[in-house]
């Protein structure tokens, strides 16, 4: 089942095309990693889906609803933390969550619901510090509270824009574990935009790459793995090897960087080893590696 499908979705700010005919699909159960540089259009797309901004052209289908009123209804099944957490700064965490319960029309006992959600995001201590106002929270605490507010309604679709902002390494790990748990145990579908690609690669099951408002490609985590360029990395004792020596021997799909020689693809490494032997160069270490998400992304946008 498709949770979200955008159809030629476009958003223009004066003369700037923030979104240019974006066609993106998120299926039930996906953890969709949305990747792009600053100003690529990630937040704009999230803002449009969340209803904060209006599209200039195109449309989208959310939980099979495509009419304006239908989408408003469908949003009851989703939750989002867009840019910074939207908190009432002069209220405590408990009061913020209480207001969210009222807003969402949660019937269950609010006290219990709040306790449970604070426990989920590791903010139980705020039940004791009940009068501490959100304006006095650290950035990380605000981020956690924002996520708690999003999770309080048990949404079916969670949209997180840079969720790791302000979190310490432990917080990032905890959040990852929480999101994975929610995805695996409750089938929660997610759209996560993040600059922390290594972290995102530990979570996402599908990726969407966006640049200058255009969706360059959608790819599953498995496909990314398959398409990632494999390389054999040789670490040499000295940096005396030069590129010309290897090129003269008809070798070209490699990268030489000081003492590190990267041999791409499945080509035989024997010719390279022969070249090293001829120059009496000692091999210190050899290992295999493949492109990570960052390298894949950089290639995709043509960056260096």
């Amino acid at each position: 089942m498709e949770i979200l499908k955008t159809i030629d979705l476009s958003k223009t700010y004066r003369k700037t095309k923030a979104l240019d005919k974006v066609n993106l699909t998120i299926h039930q159960g996906d953890i969709y990693g949305f990747i792009g540089k600053n100003g690529a259009g990630k937040t704009t797309l999230i803002r449009v889906i969340a209803g904060i901004a209006e599209p200039t052209k195109g449309s989208f289908v959310l939980f099979d609803e495509s009419t304006p009123m239908g989408i408003v209804r469908a949003r009851k099944k989703m939750a989002a933390v867009v840019e910074s957490p939207a908190l009432h700064l002069n209220l405590s965490a408990y009061e913020n969550l209480k207001l969210q319960c009222i807003l969402l029309g949660i019937q269950a006992d609010h006290q219990t619901v709040i306790q449970n959600v604070l426990k989920k995001v590791d903010l139980e201590r705020l039940l004791v510090e009940r009068k501490k106002k959100a304006k006095n929270f650290s950035l990380g605490m605000r981020q956690r509270l924002g996520i708690a507010m999003a999770l309080i309604s048990n949404p079916k679709f969670l949209v997180l824009d840079e969720p790791n902002n302000g979190l310490d390494p432990e917080g990032i790990r905890d959040l990852r574990q929480l999101l994975l748990k929610l995805n695996q145990e409750e089938g929660l579908t997610m759209l996560i935009s993040s600059h922390m690609l290594t972290e995102l690669s530990k979570l996402a099951t599908r990726y969407g790459f966006i640049d200058h408002g255009k969706l360059l490609r959608e790819i599953s985590a498995e496909q990314l793995q398959r398409e990632s360029r494999q390389a054999t990395v040789l670490t040499l004792a000295a940096s005396t090897l030069n590129v010309e020596t290897l090129v003269k021997q008809g070798l070209n799909d490699f990268e030489l960087n000081g003492t590190q020689l990267k041999i791409y693809g499945q080509q035989p490494i024997q010719p390279y080893l022969n070249a090293l032997l001829k120059q009496n160069l000692e091999l210190v270490h050899m290992n295999k590696e493949s492109d990570d998400l960052e390298a894949f992304f950089m290639k995709m946008i043509g960056g260096k």
Partner: protein, 293 residues
């Protein structure tokens, strides 16, 4: 919508600036009673001069009206702007409320805050002047209905002004913008409008028979002999100044006691109702199509 109102009232209760301003507004009402009491002169035993009657106390409360209305404007603008600047308005949209619905609730909250502010302001003067110090006499009661009609008329102007500032606050999307628009609407706007209207009227009076009109105006003042007449006359002069932006058909020096003023009232009510409808409906539709921060 019920849930949105619940959220807004909870938010209002916790808005410290609103509480501080509410106390100030209430105290300003009390100040009028105090001023009247201090300046009282007893002509005969139990008979006080002009400065200490129920009408003078209420009248003086309206002299401070502009400050009070400006303060109410500040509370509503801050209340609306905070929701936008803190981004909490986004929670409502993501929770599945339409922007039009959110807009209507914000506008109605502004009206409620205004009414609460007006009640707070008039609480002490009303209680002290009418019930405790100088009970309403039979003569006063004779014009009570007119008094209420004119009160509603005046407050209608204030509500239009508050709705306009709320709409501008929602459009500006910043706290500073909201405050600036409040000052423009309630301070600079009426002053400029009154000035322009006065110049136009003066030119017209020079052409026709200015002295007749002015004499009628003064006579009307001298003829006032009921507390309520006096109150609503002066109140309306004050409120007309504040609301002169929305009071297009009422001359600055109108005699509200003459029979022909009813036409002005209906025209002004019509203007205000049109403006309120436009602000609520067209403003709401426009808000629904706009991007939020």
């Amino acid at each position: 919508m019920k849930r949105l109102f619940a959220i807004e009232f909870a938010r209002l209760r916790r808005q410290s600036s609103a509480i501080v301003i509410a106390v100030i507004i209430f105290a300003l009402g009390g100040l009028n009673v105090l001023v009247a009491w201090i300046t009282k002169v007893e002509i005969n035993p139990g008979e006080y001069n002009f400065f200490l009657t129920s009408r003078t106390i209420l009248e003086s409360s309206f002299q401070l009206g502009q400050i009070q209305i400006l303060l109410i404007g500040v509370v509503t603008s801050l209340f609306i702007a905070t929701d936008i600047t803190q981004g909490t308005i986004r929670n409502k949209i993501i929770a599945g409320y339409s922007k039009f619905e959110i807009y209507l609730v914000q506008m109605l909250m502004s009206v409620m805050i205004t009414i609460m502010g007006l009640i707070l302001f008039h609480a002490l003067p009303s209680v002290f002047s009418s019930l405790i110090m100088f009970p309403i006499t039979v003569d006063d009661g004779g014009t009570f209905a007119n008094f209420m009609i004119h009160m509603s008329f005046g407050y209608g102007l204030i509500i239009t002004g508050v709705l306009l500032t709320t709409w501008l606050a929602l459009k500006s999307k910043t706290t500073a913008g909201a405050i600036i628009f409040t000052l423009l609407i309630f301070v600079l706007g009426p002053t400029l409008t009154t000035l322009i209207k006065t110049i136009i009227e003066a030119l017209v009076l020079l052409e026709i028979d200015q002295f007749t009109d002015l004499a009628a105006f003064e006579k009307a003042q001298a003829d006032i002999n009921s507390a309520f007449e006096w109150v609503y006359f002066y109140q309306l002069q004050r409120l007309a100044n504040i609301g002169s932006l929305f009071n297009f058909f009422v001359p600055t020096r109108i005699n509200f006691f003459s029979a022909d003023t009813k036409g002005y009232i209906w025209k002004t009510l019509g203007t205000n109702l049109t403006l309120i409808t436009l602000l609520l409906y067209v403003g709401g539709k426009n808000f629904a199509k706009s991007d939020l921060r």
